[in-house]
């Protein structure tokens, strides 16, 4: 049986939400809340928004959790706000969230106006449109991604998602 290549199962870039890096977290949320991806009749909402620069070059991506991190009121953040943290960090008690008040709501609204570039992640791995399905699977598993940008002849042409990869695998095993 023919197994597909990345270019065959990817979502065209036109159909995937993306924004310029100076847009705000708020605007990224709007993209996520309104976008609906229709892949061969299977509908889903995006978990990632791509971020581009002025020259329309791919700079990075933001996931839901990056957005949520960007909105966390300061007192609930660990002293180190990057992914993972360090061993000697003081743990913040999440029960503090019970003090959630108008003040925190205001802070969230304010944080939502910070540029998306403050919470986005760099693009480290990409797939090529000609990459075999299994190569894509490996990249995702090893790097813990559920989405990979796909390039063709040096240009970003779309994204391949774990859900679409799984769909192809399902065709093989079910």
């Amino acid at each position: 049986m023919h197994t597909k290549r990345a270019g065959e199962i990817m979502i065209q870039l036109d159909h995937y939400p993306h924004i310029p890096y100076w847009f705000t977290i708020r605007q990224a949320i709007a993209e996520m809340e309104t976008a609906e991806i229709d892949q061969d009749g299977r509908r889903s909402i995006p978990r990632v928004v791509l971020v581009f620069d002025e020259a329309y070059r791919l700079m990075g991506f933001v996931r839901r959790r990056d957005i949520l991190r960007g909105l966390l009121p300061s007192f609930l953040q660990n002293s180190h706000s990057s992914l993972g943290g360090k061993e000697y960090d003081i743990k913040v008690d999440p029960n503090l969230s019970e003090v959630f008040s108008d003040e925190e709501t205001d802070e969230i609204r304010e944080l939502a106006n910070t540029p998306i570039s403050t919470v986005m992640n760099p693009i480290v791995h990409t797939a090529d449109a000609e990459d075999h399905l299994l190569k894509v699977v490996r990249e995702m598993v090893v790097n813990n991604y559920y989405m990979l940008p796909v390039q063709r002849e040096g240009k970003i042409v779309g994204v391949v998602r774990s859900i679409d990869v799984l769909h192809e695998i399902a065709g093989l095993v079910l």
Partner: protein
């Protein structure tokens, strides 16, 4: 970036391109003035043509002269601006002028032709040859109506009479330097002219022509006498001439030529001459034709109006009748019986029978004489039902034929007992009383007042506020439409509106013209109107009285009903309306249509519309050309990372030699407002940690050939004018605006094109812009990823406010296309921007 010299305030260093642009800009401003003048003149003429105001031929001539000058000036300015390719407009203007000349009285030269013409060879097209009265007799004969036989002595006959006797030179000499306001001088000149005419001879061939026709008429009809009646050329277009010239009844053969001469001389009665000259009609412009008509021995004479002038919709016919010959009626010697007849059933609705003690009859010696009416006949109706029935039939036929109400002179022939029609002309009446005096306005609650009446009348209904073109479809029939300004899309609501009111506006807008055409009571220029009108509340707009009242005021509406019918049929109104047909319709509406060409201009309005549009474009193109030249202006010293050349058209920047223009030096005006909006929105932030984010690759979308994303940006600025052309990222924006103290000259025009994203996202951005701009009051043309959006006719403050918003919107939408992956997100951005820009949000966008 190299710092450039600032050459534009010193003539020495000023680039020739900028000098050229400045010259063109001056021309452009003048063109706007002239264009505005033309629209005002047309507006004034349209207003007069509505029948609410009286005017005379002097008005028509004066206003035409002004209009002609303004149109030619506009065309000349466009030719100066854009070159000889616009010469064709000049030809169009001349052609329209020739058409106008044909409509004006007296401008028809009297051409050689027959000197006498029997009525059987005349119809209504011959008014320039035989005058209206004769022509209509010929026309009615052709229709088969019972009219007297006869013939006309033509205008050419009159010319021959003058030439043969060398009269023109004498007339000219006497009239030269005559002060018509000096009554004694006027009478002296008229007396002198009368003597001259009396001494003059009817030329031999004319005399024999008249005699031959006369003899032929008498022998054919077996009649004894004729009537000679004046039928001046142009009398139909100069309604007040009626009754100014002589007519003679029952003329014996030996007095035929004398009476003919007397009628010609009656042109120079003090009253008639005063009228001519005081209305700027040259004496030579009015040739005199005379009708020689078989004398009807009238048992009864009368005048019939085919409509009741006081109540023209009532479908009644009014008949006035007396015994004997007609002059006693028209001269008011005898009070007539009056019958109000129902057109449908021909029955008498109402009659007033008066005592008619005297009558005028034919004198066997020639002329007429008075005699008493037999006692028994005095107090009974002088016409029977059969005659009334005939009259109603005639009324219907003539009205059908001419298409409007008629004023008909008739008689009952003693010999046959039949009704004879002696004359028909359009029914003309003047307004009796200003209607406002008849309505009791006390006790009505005034909601607003003032402004300018664009179309008189009153209308009531629920208030519907409409701010932009996209709300047009929401207006229900019978609404009182309230709008901030007369924007063109309002034209679409005119058929549904009971009245229209705007906060600003004048009588020169296109919309004003349409409102008058559709006769929607329209009042403009009421400040803070929108604050005072509550949507849904029932109000009555009294456009005539320039007030808005609470509630539905039926009596007022009824009374304010424009009395068009009373005026429409008068000749002078008819003349004005016919003139307007070749002056005011607008055929060239949209510049995007293929017919938007100079050779398609068929009215003066078309010409100015075309010249205005092309004027804007000529300046725009040249400004862009000059703006692109790096040595043409100074650089704007701004916090925004955007190199912008500034071209100072009217030395609005402070003197100095700096090579940079500082933001703070820019005077208040369109550019400053736009730029302040840009500054308020701020430039998108820089990438905080560029080393961490190495771009992977370009996407496949958009116009990626450009590496310098902000090249070629420039601004041309004047006192109340600005043209800003920006290249931002992948899109191109240009904003042109005029924001002076005269709202009718003001406009904002936005062009927006392109983008870096795929086509569907670029188009979503344009749709988003279109919707936001609509809410701001713009109207636009959208083609794929291009929008051409225009707002006109706003006060300066509003123009400036709009420009500030456009400045913000320009940066808000910078590369927004990238983010518009679907319609829902586009809707979210639209409402988000609307909120941030303080624009009304019609819809709550559900996330």
């Amino acid at each position: 970036m190299a710092r450039l010299t600032h050459p534009f305030r010193t003539t020495e260093g000023e680039s020739s391109a900028l000098q050229k642009l400045r010259r063109r800009f001056d021309l452009f401003r003048e063109l706007l003035d002239r264009n505005n003048q033309v629209l005002q003149i047309i507006g004034d003429m349209e207003e007069k043509a509505q029948g609410e105001y009286l005017f005379d031929l002097t008005y028509v001539r004066t206003i035409l002269e002004q209009l002609r000058d303004a149109v030619h000036a506009t065309v000349d300015l466009l030719i100066d601006l854009g070159g000889p390719e616009y010469q064709v407009l000049k030809d169009r203007a001349n052609a329209i002028e020739s058409q106008i000349a044909l409509l004006l009285p007296g401008t028809h030269p009297v051409e050689p032709g027959p000197m006498v013409l029997p009525f059987s060879r005349i119809d209504s097209r011959d008014t320039f040859l035989v005058g209206s009265k004769n022509a209509q007799l010929g026309e009615m004969k052709r229709l088969g109506l019972n009219v007297p036989e006869g013939f006309a002595v033509t205008a050419y006959g009159y010319r021959c009479f003058l030439e043969e006797n060398g009269l023109q030179q004498e007339i000219d000499a006497l009239l030269e330097g005559l002060d018509i306001q000096n009554h004694d001088d006027l009478v002296a000149v008229c007396d002198r002219l009368k003597v001259i005419f009396e001494k003059s001879q009817v030329p031999g061939d004319l005399a024999s022509g008249i005699r031959d026709q006369h003899d032929e008429l008498l022998s054919r009809r077996g009649a004894g006498r004729v009537a000679l009646r004046s039928s001046a050329i142009g009398e139909d277009s100069l309604f007040s001439f009626a009754g100014q010239y002589s007519s003679f009844l029952n003329v014996p053969p030996d007095q035929l030529l004398k009476r003919y001469r007397d009628i010609l001389a009656s042109k120079f009665s003090p009253r008639a001459l005063f009228y001519l000259l005081s209305h700027s009609i040259g004496e030579q412009e009015l040739a005199m034709s005379v009708g020689c008509i078989e004398m009807v021995d009238a048992m009864v004479s009368g005048v019939m109006y085919t409509r009741d002038p006081i109540d023209p919709d009532a479908d009644t016919v009014l008949v006035h009748a007396i015994y004997g010959l007609g002059p006693y009626l028209v001269e008011g010697e005898v009070s007539p019986d009056v019958f109000k007849l129902c057109r449908e059933r021909a029955g008498v609705v109402e009659s007033t029978i008066r005592t008619k003690a005297r009558r005028l009859v034919l004198d066997p010696e020639g002329g007429v004489k008075e005699e008493p009416v037999p006692e028994a006949d005095r107090d009974v109706p002088c016409v029977d039902e059969r005659t009334l029935q005939s009259l109603v039939d005639i009324a219907a036929r003539l009205e059908d034929h001419y298409g409007h109400a008629q004023d008909i002179e008739w008689a009952v022939d003693r010999a046959t007992g039949r009704v004879v029609v002696l004359q028909a002309r359009p029914l003309r009446l003047l307004c009796d009383l200003p209607v406002s005096e008849r309505v009791d306005l006390d006790g009505l609650k005034v909601l607003a007042s003032g402004g300018t009446t664009v179309c008189p009348g009153a209308g009531g209904g629920p208030v519907a506020v409409i701010q932009s073109a996209d709300q047009v479809g929401e207006i229900e029939r019978g609404s009182v439409v309230v709008a901030p300004n007369p924007f063109p899309a309002l034209a679409q609501v005119l058929d549904r509106a009971s009245a229209l009111v705007t906060e600003i506006g004048g009588s020169a807008s296109h919309l004003a013209s349409l409102a008058r055409e559709k006769r929607v009571p329209t009042l403009v220029g009421i400040p803070k109107l929108l604050d005072r009108m509550v949507p849904g509340d029932v109000v009555t707009v009294d456009a005539t009285g320039m007030s808005i009242y609470a509630g539905m005021q039926d009596e007022l509406i009824q009374n304010r009903r424009p009395e068009y019918d009373l005026f429409e049929d008068t000749a002078i109104y008819d003349l004005l309306r016919r003139l307007l047909e070749i002056i005011s319709p607008l055929n060239l509406v949209s510049p995007t249509e293929p017919d938007f060409r100079p050779d398609r201009c068929v009215t003066f309005h078309d010409i100015t519309r075309f010249a205005h549009q092309r004027g804007i474009e000529e300046v725009f193109h040249l400004a862009r050309e000059v703006g692109r030249q790096r040595d043409a202006g100074a650089m704007l010293d701004t916090v925004l990372p955007l190199p912008v050349h500034v071209l100072d058209l009217e030395s609005v920047l402070p003197d100095g030699t700096q090579t940079w223009s500082k933001e703070r030096d820019i005077p208040e005006g369109p550019f400053r407002s736009f730029w302040s909006g840009m500054l308020k929105e701020g430039w998108p932030g820089h990438l905080p940690n560029p080393n961490r984010f190495i771009p992977v690759s370009a996407s496949h979308g958009g116009n990626l050939h450009s590496t310098q994303f902000t090249e070629n940006s420039f601004a041309v600025i004047g006192r109340d004018y600005a043209l800003v052309s920006l290249r931002l990222g992948f899109h191109f924006t240009s904003v042109e605006a005029m924001g002076c103290d005269e709202p009718e000259k003001n406009f904002v025009r936005l062009h927006y094109k392109g983008g870096g994203a795929a086509a569907d996202r670029r188009q979503r951005r344009i749709r988003l812009l279109a919707e936001l701009l609509s809410r701001m009051g713009f109207e636009h043309i959208v083609k794929s990823d291009f929008i051409d959006s225009v707002m006109t006719f706003r006060p300066r403050e509003e123009i400036l406010e709009t420009l500030a918003r456009l400045g913000r919107l320009t940066l808000m939408t910078k590369q927004l296309d990238m983010a518009l992956s679907n319609d829902r997100v586009t809707g979210w951005y639209r409402e988000d921007f609307a909120k941030r820009l303080g624009l009304a949000s019609e819809r709550v966008f559900p996330l």
